[in-house]
């Protein structure tokens, strides 16, 4: 019974961190699926979202609900700006060129935050207060439930948006073939800009939930969840919206299970080994489409 409770508790720990990964991975996968670029700065937009929320709530004393909206708006605008300045001129360049620029943007955001907010972590209490639920000996944290719910809603919302709106269809078209989409009268630039706006807004949501969970602001806070979420997105099949959700949750659970029952020292090694194994068995991730080149 104790063992079972232990396993259950560790599963919940996995869900807690996994739901955050999933939320971030959704943003990654969205941008990747449509703009076909790995946005290495995605994690740093989460950081910006977290700091923005802090500025609105603690420094400007805006009502938390409004602050959430403002934060999402701020990040979306920032996403658009970054896209316009740093990525758009590279639309026709090699894909790697954009990747490197994204890394540059990541450095830029981190160092800007460092200059503005300094290196010392800033404590910032959660604005989301949801009571935990206790079932038997197991306690489920309120925030975990909120994060899971938000991630699920976002996933469903994104799927509906992509499949049932005009903009969504444009996105699908652009993701299939930019050139053809352009010929069909789709405004590719605008579609990609909107993709970035949505991706950044999702990053903001992730940032808000992340900071509510961990309550400490650091200029580098986005880096690690960013890279883990990237792994999650690939694990789930990058470009696939439900894949991102599954990848995130699976990654979180593997992580907490290997920490609990194998080795905390080698947890990262185990997580990445799992990734390699999954990709060897299924080269395009759990839910990814294998694109076969037509000969």
């Amino acid at each position: 019974m104790a063992l079972l409770n232990g396993i259950l508790a560790q599963l919940l720990n996995g869900l807690r961190i996994g739901s955050i990964y999933a939320l971030i991975a959704l943003g990654y996968t969205m941008v990747y699926g449509i703009a076909k670029m790995i946005n290495f700065a995605h994690g740093d937009i989460i950081m910006v979202g977290a700091y923005a929320l802090y500025v609105f709530v603690s420094l400007l004393h805006v009502h938390p609900a409004l602050a959430v909206v403002l934060t999402i708006g701020f990040c979306a605008v920032m996403g658009i700006t970054i896209e316009k300045i740093a990525y758009k001129p590279l639309r026709n360049a090699q894909r790697l060129a954009v990747l490197i620029t994204a890394i540059g943007v990541s450095y830029l955001l981190q160092n800007l935050a460092l200059l503005i907010f300094k290196a010392t972590p800033i404590p910032f209490g959660s604005i989301i207060r949801v009571p935990s639920i206790t079932v038997g000996e197991i306690t489920i944290s309120g925030l975990t439930m909120v994060t899971l719910a938000v991630t699920a809603v976002v996933m469903v919302g994104l799927t509906l948006f992509v499949n049932h709106t005009k903009m969504g269809h444009s996105m699908l078209a652009v993701s299939e073939d930019q050139g053809a989409a352009k010929l069909m009268g789709i405004n590719v630039d605008r579609t990609i800009t909107i993709t970035f706006a949505i991706g950044s807004a999702l990053a903001a949501v992730a940032g808000i939930l992340y900071i509510s969970q961990y309550e400490s602001l650091l200029p580098t806070l986005g880096a690690l969840p960013g890279i883990k979420a990237f792994v999650a997105a690939v694990l789930g099949g990058i470009g696939s919206i439900p894949g991102a959700m599954i990848g995130g949750l699976v990654l979180g659970i593997i992580e907490s299970m290997s920490k609990a029952y194998i080795s905390t020292q080698l947890a990262d090694a185990i997580v990445f080994s799992m990734l390699v194994v999954v990709l060897l068995l299924k080269p395009s991730g759990i839910l990814g489409k294998l694109s076969i080149e037509k000969v």
Binding site: T120, S216, E255, K259, A260, T264, Q265, D268
Partner: protein, 374 residues
């Protein structure tokens, strides 16, 4: 912008002083090496700011008189991003600027990466916070802080002998030298004293989620948790433990200093005990003066890194006065003869190995404020 002007100002001053050798007050340049950017930036910034406070104090009081010459202290602090790769360049940059002594590096690895060169150059090197034993292997190298094993042993003794705890869980950073160094010594000493390490859980730098480790510990019969790590980690760990409803007492290393500044609810660290040479909230005169000056200058409460930086500068002053010279060899020889009245110890003396001799103190959080454990 202010900082740029300030740096430019210092640089100008150095240039002017260098060009006019005959000026009344010569400059004694302290070369600082430590992280000002990157994940470890806060340690380097603290050391730098603590040292600047000390330098201002000393210069305001007329500088350091060595023989017939009065020296004004100056600091050139170069960023090493806490990286072994960049530390040599940072060190050589301050040497190019004509540093007389080296304060640094702030982190152990970066410090070790430059010890061979400082030794070859024969310059006095005092690391404020490089706690690995290898930092002071050479004869020219000294340190202000305790070494990792010293801290681990001191805490193990305190927990087993004084508090009578026998079943202890440990959470440590497997990717961090400081953390693994303390942990090793701590676990060995606990075993020596007949205690038991019931869980030894690792995490990685930048990890923020400790629920898996805490859940594991919760499943053991641990009586206390020892966390040899930095205050950010402690912040996450104590918060998540309290969220889980754990009530085990926490013990920590000197990296915990500053934890009250980063927790959202002081109750989560209430009653924790950590080894620390410095405590900003005690009300002896010297500490209060330092804390106030620091607050006025940087709008922040000094942590132990700042105190280490401060003491480092006073160590240089004492060595200059004792040596009666600013030649490196004389300064190094004087190090074992001086006694410094610092923030992290009073007195601080140094043994031939380069380690400081000062009392280990334990700090606890009581009613949301630090106090020394009596």
């Amino acid at each position: 912008m202010k900082k740029v002007l300030k740096t430019a100002g210092i640089a100008c001053t150095i240039a002017m002083l260098a060009s006019s050798v005959a000026s009344a007050a010569d400059t004694f340049l302290i070369g600082g090496v430590g992280p000002l950017t990157g994940a470890a930036a806060s340690y380097g910034v603290s050391v730098k700011q603590g040292a600047e406070i000390a330098i201002e104090e000393i210069n305001a009081a007329g500088g350091v008189t060595v023989g017939d010459t009065t020296y004004e202290l100056a600091l050139q602090f170069e960023d090493d991003q806490a990286s072994e790769d960049i530390a040599p360049q940072a060190y050589n940059a301050v040497m190019d600027a004509g540093a007389n002594v080296i304060m640094g590096a702030v982190t152990s690895g970066a410090c070790i990466a430059i010890t061979a060169q400082t030794y070859a150059d024969g310059i006095l090197q005092v690391t404020p916070s490089g706690s690995a034993e290898a930092c002071i292997e050479n004869d020219n190298a000294f340190r202000i802080c305790f070494s990792d094993p010293e801290q681990g042993v001191a805490m193990a003794d305190y927990m087993t002998d004084t508090l009578g705890l026998t079943k202890i869980a440990v959470i440590y950073n497997t990717a961090d030298e400081y953390s693994t160094g303390i942990r090793e010594a701590f676990e060995a000493e606990v075993a020596e004293k007949g205690g038991e390490i019931v869980a030894s859980e690792a995490f990685q730098t930048n990890d923020t989620d400790f629920n898996a480790q805490l859940t594991t510990i919760n499943g053991t019969d641990a009586e206390a948790i020892y966390v040899p790590a930095y205050y950010q980690d402690a912040t996450y760990i104590t918060k998540q433990a309290s969220d889980m409803g754990m009530s085990l007492p926490f013990f920590g290393s000197d990296g915990w200093d500053g934890v009250l500044g980063t927790v959202t609810d002081p109750a989560t660290v209430e009653g924790c005990i950590f080894t620390s040479p410095f405590c900003a909230s005690v009300d002896d005169e010297k500490t209060v003066a330092f804390v106030e000056a620091y607050k006025a200058a940087y709008d922040a409460t000094p942590d132990q890194f700042a105190a280490d930086g401060y003491d480092c500068v006073y160590t240089f002053k004492a060595a200059m006065e004792q040596a009666g010279s600013i030649e490196s060899a004389d300064l190094i020889a004087a190090m074992t003869e001086i006694s410094v009245s610092g923030q992290t110890g009073d007195p601080i003396t140094f043994d031939a190995s380069g380690a400081p001799i000062k009392d280990v103190k334990f700090v606890t959080v009581k009613d949301g404020a630090y106090t020394f454990v009596e």
